[in-house]
């Protein structure tokens, strides 16, 4: 049973890797056409029509997608801290009790 799950999982991993790799290589191949030289000059000229502070405009308007990933890094850091050091100990006692009972039930089934 576990072998079957592992093989299905590696198949899914394979497809995900293929999709990711092909997208990445396609992006690298077609990147030449996406580059617009001087876009920074254009943005510097028109950006201050939005708000006076250019730094925040670059961070949140022009590169808003980057900022989304940047703030998700912090979430990942918290998750890794809880995962490595906590191992589920940090939860409230009530939630912990639920998890303990679930774990006990699973243990009974096996």
């Amino acid at each position: 049973m576990s072998d079957k799950i592992a093989s299905v999982r590696s198949l899914i991993m394979l497809f995900a890797a293929i999709i990711f790799a092909s997208t990445l290589f396609d992006a690298i191949y077609g990147f030449k056409n996406l580059i617009q030289p001087g876009i920074s000059l254009v943005y510097n000229a028109i950006g201050t029509q939005l708000a006076p502070n250019m730094v925040t405009l670059v961070v949140f308007d022009w590169r808003g997608f980057d900022t989304l990933g940047e703030s998700l890094i912090l979430v990942t850091a918290v998750l890794v801290v809880l995962l490595i050091f906590g191992k589920g100990k940090i939860l409230d006692k009530n939630i912990n009790a639920d998890i303990d009972s679930v774990n006990d039930n699973e243990g009974d089934d096996e």
Binding site: P52, V59, L68
Partner: protein
């Protein structure tokens, strides 16, 4: 020390009374400064990340001085997870609104620099201000809340780990 004089009752594990009196006002000042930094993100240097870190500094100060259980600015587990998820969702939804209306993710709908959105829709997302910053202040607020919750969650987690290690 003389035999008759008694030092005040003071648990060695507690922090000093001076710190206990001074920390809460200082933390409030730090939090107020952080809120100011977040709300003025589009007109002054700084922004969501910096302001959120300042607010988290106030909360972390309280956690360190008063202890994680007795801190007056207590963030519960449920509050942290709910705020983190809601704010991340708000950021992504603002981006998706731009994607739906103009075809580019995180297009500044309120600012409407390229005139890709009708004026009626742009007025909804526009920040009520003398500037035409659009959705930038909303993204500032979202990132600020996210950073505040994330940074304080790490410190709260570490202080609870210390307590658990002492119990074991």
């Amino acid at each position: 020390m003389a035999e008759g004089k008694k030092s005040p009752n003071w648990n060695k594990d507690d922090s000093s009374p001076i710190l206990k009196i001074m920390t809460l006002p200082i933390a409030f000042i730090m939090i107020a400064l952080g809120i100011m930094t977040i709300l003025g993100g589009h007109i002054t240097p700084g922004g969501g990340f910096q302001g959120g870190a300042m607010i988290a500094g106030g909360i972390i100060f309280c956690v360190i001085v008063y202890g994680v259980d007795d801190t007056p600015l207590k963030l519960s587990h449920r509050f942290i997870s709910t705020l983190e998820s809601l704010v991340a969702l708000a950021y992504v939804l603002l981006g998706l609104a731009g994607l739906a209306l103009t075809g580019s993710f995180l297009y500044n709908i309120g600012g409407n620099l390229y005139g890709a959105v009708p004026q009626a829709i742009a007025a909804i997302f526009s920040y009520p201000d003398v500037t035409h910053a659009g959705i930038v202040p909303y993204l500032n607020i979202a990132v600020g809340l996210k950073v505040l919750v994330g940074l304080s969650a790490i410190v709260i987690a570490f202080s609870k780990f210390k307590k658990l290690a002492e119990e074991e």
